[in-house]
């Protein structure tokens, strides 16, 4: 044995040559162990039904309420038709909209808006109306029962505006494999012919 461990005392047994010391358990080890036990008992004070804690569902409800109170007031109607039409002719807004469309819409409407699962967005036929406000509304609240998601809660307001502007700008473009028209003829007022 090396010097520092002279106080180690070997126990008198040996198993296949393995021996054991009779050292005490390290103090800090014991203290932390007791500490965790005390903590474990105290923690029950936080469990609903047993202690005074409110529990995870109450915490959740509170967090939802707090977030609702914090939510900045939204413009209820969204941008007006003129602003959307103007944006649909603004190359930067359209470019931003194209990015959003590629990320979130092309899976269902095709990369060029020609329609796959969702309808063709390039023709003048619309199921839910082709006016800028109508398109904004469809995109914002979706058509859930038909599989068109609501994008208002997901995308940021700028992104919704941009993608609506982009959709309007698609009017009159010629996609590679257009889906047959659905709905009724309702071109966006003064729709610009495709500058995408």
């Amino acid at each position: 044995m090396s010097a520092p461990h002279d106080d180690d005392r070997l126990l008198d047994h040996s198993y296949d040559g393995i021996q054991e010391y009779d050292n005490p358990m390290p103090r800090w080890w014991l203290y932390i162990f007791w500490g965790t036990i005390v903590w474990g008992v105290l923690f029950w004070l936080n469990v609903p039904g047993i202690g005074v804690g409110k529990g995870r569902i109450a915490d959740y409800d509170a967090s939802v309420a707090a977030a609702a109170a914090d939510m900045p007031a939204e413009p209820s109607a969204g941008p007006d038709a003129a602003a959307l039409l103007a944006a649909s002719q603004d190359p930067t807004a359209v470019a931003a909209g194209r990015t959003v469309f590629g990320a979130y819409c092309s899976a269902c409407h095709g990369p060029d808006g020609g329609g796959v699962i969702g309808p063709n967005l390039t023709d003048a036929y619309w199921i839910h109306g082709g006016s800028p406000e109508a398109v904004y509304h469809t995109v914002n609240v979706g058509v859930l029962e038909k599989g068109m998601p609501a994008w208002g809660p997901t995308l940021k307001p700028d992104e919704v505006n941009a993608v609506v502007a982009y959709v309007i700008s698609l009017q009159g473009t010629t996609p590679a494999a257009p889906k047959a028209p659905e709905g009724t003829m309702d071109p966006p007022a003064d729709a610009p012919s495709g500058d995408s």
Partner: protein, 726 residues
Amino acid sequence: MNPQLESFRYDDAIVRKFLWATFLWGLIGMTVGLLIALQLAMPALNFDIAWLSFGRLRPLHTNAVIFAFAGNAFFTGAYYSSQRLLKARMFSDLLSRVHFWGWQLIIVLAAVTLPLGFTQAKEYAELEWPIDILIAVVWVIFAVNFFGTIAKRRERHLYVALWFYIASIVTVAILHIFNNLSVPAGPLKSYSIYAGVQDAFMQWWYGHNAVAFFLTTPFLGLMYYFLPKAADKPIFSYRLSILHFWTIVFLYIWAGPHHLHYTALPEWASTLGMVFSVMLWMPSWGGMINGLLTLRGAWKKVVEDPILKFFVVAITAYGMSTFEGPMLSVRSVNALAHYTDWIIAHVHTGALGWNGFLAFGMIYWLAPRLFQTRLHSMKMAELHFWLATFGIILYVTAIYSAGLTQGLMWRAYDVTGRLEYPAFIETVMRLMPMYWVRVAGGALYLTGMVLFGYNLLKTWQTRPATYEEPVIQAAPLGDYEELAAPRPAGALARFAQAAWHRTWERLPVTFTVMVAVAVIVASLFEIIPTFLIKSNVPTIASVKPYTPLELAGRDIYIREGCFNCHSQMIRPLRYETDRYGEYSKPGEFVYDHPFLWGSRRIGPDLAREGGKYPDLWHVRHMEAPRDIEAKSIMPAYPWMLTNALDFDGIQSRVDAMVMLGVPYGPAVNDAPAMARQQARAIAQSIAAQGGPADLSDKEIVAMVAYLQRLGRDLGAQPAATTVGGQ
């Protein structure tokens, strides 16, 4: 004492067998691990082949490393050390062989059935019921052989390594049997007898204790034998051994529900799991302290000897993961880490570091003794050590960052109060560089493994023509005479604390009974309230059983292992409900045999998937996910569009569900016809949306039916959903 010595020989041939099996399955299990790591970074490597796809191979990887690699390593060390610690040859050479070949057969069966999609969908308990029965039989054979050896031992007292073996053998048997209880619905298909919340509880009671009693206690036992042997030092503290052994055995059993924080499991249960996990911290560290302090005065040797280096890293990794485990069990930490790669990093610190390195060190120490020659190359062992160490470091740093990154992205809000990353795929793409680093780390570790095999092979080649089997002599146990050897009085007093334990150590039956009592009592404290308290699972009137077609779809979901990537459990946390919808309620899962809550979100949660997309979306997404989501890492499932659905087979599945008490109504007699009817309706809607013309007899319609059902019952009017129309 009986003066007559008995002569006997140890059975080392069986140890050599287990040693090779350890290496072989380790190599295979880790290679599969590397493949699935690659698949996540490069989904093309799923090859569009069913039995090579991620969802089927991931369980193969986990089962292979846990039960095949770590299991065989435990058997290797246990067969070697038990005989020596008990001064007796194994009870029966025949049972030893049956155990060996039986276990390898189980592994082969697992390696065939898992890729073929036969699974119970419970993590680390995936194997189907006939294999489960075989496991139970082989385990009992092992137990008989082991306890038989104890019965004919020539050493009065049991050494601490044996305590850990006893605890492992007894507890694994209990866990395995009670988690796998199920009703067969075919030769390789069964449904858990538990449903939803209770099934989840049982699964994680099992799952966490598989970690405890398959990967921890057996390896602590191995440490207590091979570390003092290799270091040639006495164990640091006998009293510490006693306390940390019993606290581990008693406390571990409670910890399972910490896997289910914020789920539909009642809060008291997950809290119980949490406080017991925190209390486990020091008992676990007791093992680490006893290991590291045993090396006091031997550190110079550690520098020179790769075997001790392996042991030091193993014990350190054990200490790190048993600190991290309690930390992860704390609710607020868990909210961040759950469902992310953090957990994957955590288990790999344990598996690669603790289990892997302990096995490597042990086998390098054993090889020259078993093959009765010198180790071919110590240098190569040293290189193995460094490769594997850097492999672990690369792996875990990358995957910890991946876990933290994704966890933080999921909960990030922007200034407008919306989720910063509403598209799940953004949180996947960010992980790709880290997934490649993991591949590099895994490759290094595997390279070390190849060196290890080469070194073993070379060592084996220089073995003698016939192995020597030295004759051992020891006296049989006579009648026990109290205080046969008088001890100094002072020491006796000091020793008084542990005297009771000293008595138990010579009474193996008492000892084993005490272990079983500790484990069973602790389990019942949790299990009984979970099953009996009605308010744990408030009934929801609108929740109905799956239609026969949906049930068939659910079985396809199980077969493909979708639950390895998708959770179905939305937690009551605002960033979860904003992303996925209303949080999951316990009553929604009462017909879920087995539960499919999942534990990792490689893809998004699917608990409220129903109605989110049109049918055709799912068809195209299943056929080619990257056509829908260019950056998706989900495997493609084109075979679902061509495989015919086995309508007639659905009846036996419905029947099994009925046996479990699921109220099936008319479907009891008419499942196939009802399924056909629903399938036609879905196929029509797919065609109407512009999809392929007639899919009505293909598996995909069942899959779509199931996905479209998910999560819809909660809001449904009670009359709106009935089983397949009445």
